[in-house]
Amino acid sequence: MQDASRASQRRTPRFVLIAMLVMAMLVAPIATMTRAQDAPTGGTLTGAFDQGPGGCPECFNPFTAGAGFTWFEQYYSKLMLYDIDFTGIQPELAESWEVSEDGLTVTLHLREGVLWHDGEPFTSADVKFTIELANHPDSASYIGAKFNGVTAIDTPDDLTVVLTLAAPNAPLFDAFTFLVMVPQHALADIAPADLLQGEWWRTNPIGTGPFKWSKYEPGQYVELVANEDYWRGRPQLDRLINRYFPEAGSAVIALRNGEIQFTYLTADEALALGDDATIRQYAGPSMVPNYFAFNLNQERFQNVAIRQAFAYAIDKNTIIEQLFQGTAEPLMCLFSLPQYVPDGLNAYDYNVEQAKALLEEGGWDGSEVEILTYYQDQLSTDILTAVQQFLSDAGITVTFTAIDVTTYNDRAQARDYDIVYAGAANGPDPDVLSTHFESPAQNPNVINRSDIANADIDAGFLAGRTATTAEEREAAYQQVCSVMNAELYWIPMWISTRFGGVNGEGEFFWTPAPGGGRYYQASETWTLKAAE
């Protein structure tokens, strides 16, 4: 339904749209009246919103949580969000925006009549407050860094925000899809350091989303109730419940039991549930590129021939076919969206002879290599076992170590690794990868744990960031993509598919939270088919 109506909209000529808009404005009061008479369908939807890699169970501070937006967006709102297909950014609390010719001024026009859950109006002061809060060092928000280029925030009136930028900043709109709006009137008196882990987030947070906070039972669930004053109209459902399952298998049993209406499924679980007619399955791209990254501080990996030998030695297509059952897409570089990937790149198709020749040429010393990963699931273990075998066929001795994320962070940060197998920053905007590839000399905020310093990559990311047209951006990132593909500081592997299972007859969709879930979910339209 959703898709069909959107598709037909695209084909409608503009003047018809305008005519419809005018008509709509005339009949709007009548329409609201009729809608008020149609009682919402009601009911309680219970789901495991924070299950799987897109979730962040019991994370309540949206400025520091790296994922979990699927849930945050039920009670908070952002200025803008991706559409469900992640093809573009659409208005939310900002009704429209324009960028000045030189790209240095961004004007946001806020939606009128939006109320916080406590009845206060949402204004430009809240936007200014939120950006400044995220940017405050004590708020410890990774999102703040995305707004570093903003030099001034002006609020000429309640519904207008004018941002002045140091340089054109194309990823700024992607940054806004990370930033939930928070109320100045409720938070201004709390010091950012106290707010970082403050109880406000988990006792009575105030947002502008379709649902309002109702209660939190630690270790069990959070309950939200419908926001009667939601600007898109009251949601159909009365309540939303987010249940926590420390053990993934228990969530699947609760799904099959009918206790919850949806959860995330691993590829194995999705396969196993394939013949269960009561479970509808959804699949979507994870938007997480998996890769092998070399520690370039080690001399043995500094020769590109050696890195290419590793790429040729691993048969990624067989892994995709056999282990992923075809549900992953191979990558040419770390970008996955086609407009950023130029033609004619080397696919490094499996070729063990070539790998051996390159090892010979690069003077491989035959030393042992440890692959470090934080993936501890069965599929990843199988993948690494296969990789170990492939590399051993080419004459490379490999061991692999799977550890928890904390130890991984610690070792990677200390450069105490040979090669890591991991997934990179998540989402459709190519700039998210700059943090791994850009040199600290150009951008002091990067992680760059491979210690990559490549002038072409630096220039490409800078050009992409400051581009003022889509064409310029595409050209810049295609350039970066070619260098990534040729230099192989990271061997790009694949983007996997995420699965979700929905039980029963409810009318709602769930996508497996690509990009951490920063898209418009239309949860105000979700319904449960009434149990007759």
Partner: protein
Amino acid sequence: MGRYIQRRLLISIPILFMVTVLIFTLLQLTPGDPLTAFLPPDNPLPQEQQDAMRRQLGLDRSPPVRYFFWLRETVQGNLGYRQRTGEPITEAIGNRIGPTMLLMGTAMTFGILIGVTLGVISAIKQYSFLDNILTVFAFLGVSFPVYLAGLLALYLFSLRFRWFPAGGLSTPGEPFSFTDRLDHLILPAAIISINYVASTMRYTRSAMLEVMTTDYVRTARAKGLRENAVIVGHGLRNALLPVVTIIGAYVPNLLGGAVFIESIFSWPGLGRLYLEGIDGRDYNLIMAMTLILAIVIMIANLLTDLAYGLIDPRIRYE
């Protein structure tokens, strides 16, 4: 007796001190710290901000200084905050202590009652068919991994037969009701109790067998006492001594909880909290829980020793 208790309590202070020093030292040796655990692996925090957080969490100070701060606050009753969520630790523990004690208390009570009863029966009917069956059950019960048992039970009783809900403390969003709580409690408590039934039974059985061959039991029988009176009054009473020892050893589990079962059954208890603390390198939480566990173990040991005196009049504490 009073002086004995006093002495024991005094000795426990340096022991507790050593336990906390040991745990604190081990934590410093564990890779990662609360900040690295807090950072999403792919979303960077500028170095400047990381440094600010380190300062805020007190991680920029040397370990001895941090230990001293921790000790000073703890002695004053301030256990600090959970580093990930900012929840006060007393509140976090307070929230989860009830569910854990309910789960473990139920499991232990039934486990011990059933275990002692079956142990006595299998001792009296030694080498009978029933005894053999119970022995096999005991070995299975002790050795079967509880993790697997939990998943299997969920699959069978929750999914296949639909007798019980798939975990949780209560039905979300519903007001508290006794039957609802019971419904959620039975399955995990039953799984945990299997272990207690099995081990209590084995201890009771061997203690009973030993006691039933002693002279005073023969004397009791010779007096013409009924067999039941002999078994309960003379046999069981004396056999309970070793059983009380192991029951005393169970008590700390009342708080330690069953980490795996709590996870599988989404039970919001202390075992799960401890696991979250370790995952998040939440030093405050781990220190607080270890301290509390150590105190409970010491009190349990003391109570066990005192219980000996009640059961066995030969034991006196000066």
